[in-house]
Amino acid sequence: MKIGKPERMIINGKRLDGRGLYDLRPIKMRVGVLKNADGSSYLEWGGNKILCAVHGPRELHPKHLAKPDKAMLRCIYSMATFSVKERKKPGPDRRSIELSKVIREALENVIFLHLFPQTVIDVYIKVLQSDGGTRCASIVAASLALADAGIPMKDLVSACAAGKVDGEIVLDLFEIEDNYGEADLPVAIVPKTGEIVLLQMDGNLTKDEFKKALDLAISGAMKVYELQKKTLYERYGERYETER
């Protein structure tokens, strides 16, 4: 059952979930959650719940796909049947194929693929619960899982969306704002260099609005980056500090 369009989505400067215009949803991250994967992560971003597993580098089958000078990166984004209100038909569809592609292209920018010729690195992203902005959340989870798998990277990738709701530019849209808002602008960046590795837009924005939304999304992504760093440090850091 879909919730109908609310009359107003911003009331007295507050959004429907009580956030201010430039606030992120609460984020929780964990790495190393799966035993059988080489690297894994679990991310809760507002109502989004995402599990990500990385395998590899490993032998590539079929062999003819192998590249002689670098590793191949395969990303598979999929949503669980129970991840949305109405049952999601399992299997790849137009949307998840597109998301797999954009996530792969974002991650390809930071991974040193040339170190493992003729192999494959598999990234499996499973959305357990969706609440808008899963592509950004997936990229964040995937880059944590890749780090956990010990894969050499230039930097982590961080992402966040901005958009336009009720004529206002807001940060980190959730499902209702995503469905009924005027525009959505997911952005993924390499925080160290400031490179943009994913930029998509749904809806219409004027030039000034676009600039404002882009800056806002980048600032959001930088906040997410700090959380990513904290997660990675704390996994070994705390225990390491106490036992030394």
Binding site: D38, R58, F116, K192, L232, Y236, R239, E243, R244
Partner: protein, 222 residues
């Protein structure tokens, strides 16, 4: 010795000597993996916390025969790349095609074997022509992450020597993360638990002494 956690892209220093997986922009060095940074007097060392085994000539590894071709054995070596043992590298000259390779080293044979070459073709050429190699017939084979192998061996082999001495079993630790244990069944199963404990606590210091204490009391580590 100072050790701290580093993440991909973290700045290590300018004009320093760095060991391990790093990248350089002008004279600044950055880590390219999630691991530990060890600060030594003259250099800094990046110790990985995860990762796959990449063959290196001179390594001694444990592999098993997974396929047999006309003049090669194909070995699984716990790596993204396969190992090839050509007939020329067998213990004695083989008269092909009269002899059957399947009878010399049947499928599933486990061997402690030398990596002779690892070139651009990305196939590890293995060899049995070395004094240290062994065909392993009896015992227990376990796998650990290859990056933890130095921890099982310890500084100047301190850990492995201690394990062998205290547990009274034979242990072979191969570079590709496979460990072969042979001896009394109870001791072998206990050793497996000890190794599990070492892997779990590999990033902590003072491990050898702690493990020694545990073994002396014959405790089951948590």
């Amino acid at each position: 010795m100072e050790r701290k956690v580093i993440i991909p892209g973290e700045f290590i220093g300018k004009n320093v000597k760095v060991q391990g997986l790093f990248y350089r922009i002008n004279n600044s060095y950055y880590s390219s993996i999630y691991g530990l940074l060890e600060e030594n007097q003259n250099y800094k060392k990046i110790i990985p916390l995860a990762g796959k085994y990449i063959p290196k000539p001179g390594d001694l590894i444990i592999g098993y025969v997974k396929d047999i071709e006309f003049s090669n054995w194909i070995f699984d070596i716990n790596s993204p790349y396969i190992g090839i043992l050509p007939v020329e590298e067998f213990l004695r000259p083989i008269d092909l095609p009269k002899e059957d390779l399947r009878k010399l080293l049947p499928l599933g044979t486990v061997a402690y074997i030398l990596v002779k070459e690892f070139g651009r073709e990305r196939k590890a050429v293995l060899s049995l022509k070395d004094k240290r190699v062994k065909i392993l017939k009896k015992g227990r084979l376990i796998e650990i992450p290859p990056v933890k192998v130095p921890r099982i061996i310890g500084r100047k082999s301190s850990m492995i020597k201690m394990l062998k001495e205290k547990l009274k079993i034979s242990i072979i630790v191969a570079q590709n993360g496979r460990i072969w244990l042979n001896g009394n069944v109870d001791d072998v199963l206990y050793a497996e638990k000890i190794i599990e404990y070492i892997v779990k606590n590999a990033h902590t210091s003072g491990l050898t002494d702690r493990v020694k204490e545990i073994i002396e009391k014959r405790e089951i580590p948590k």
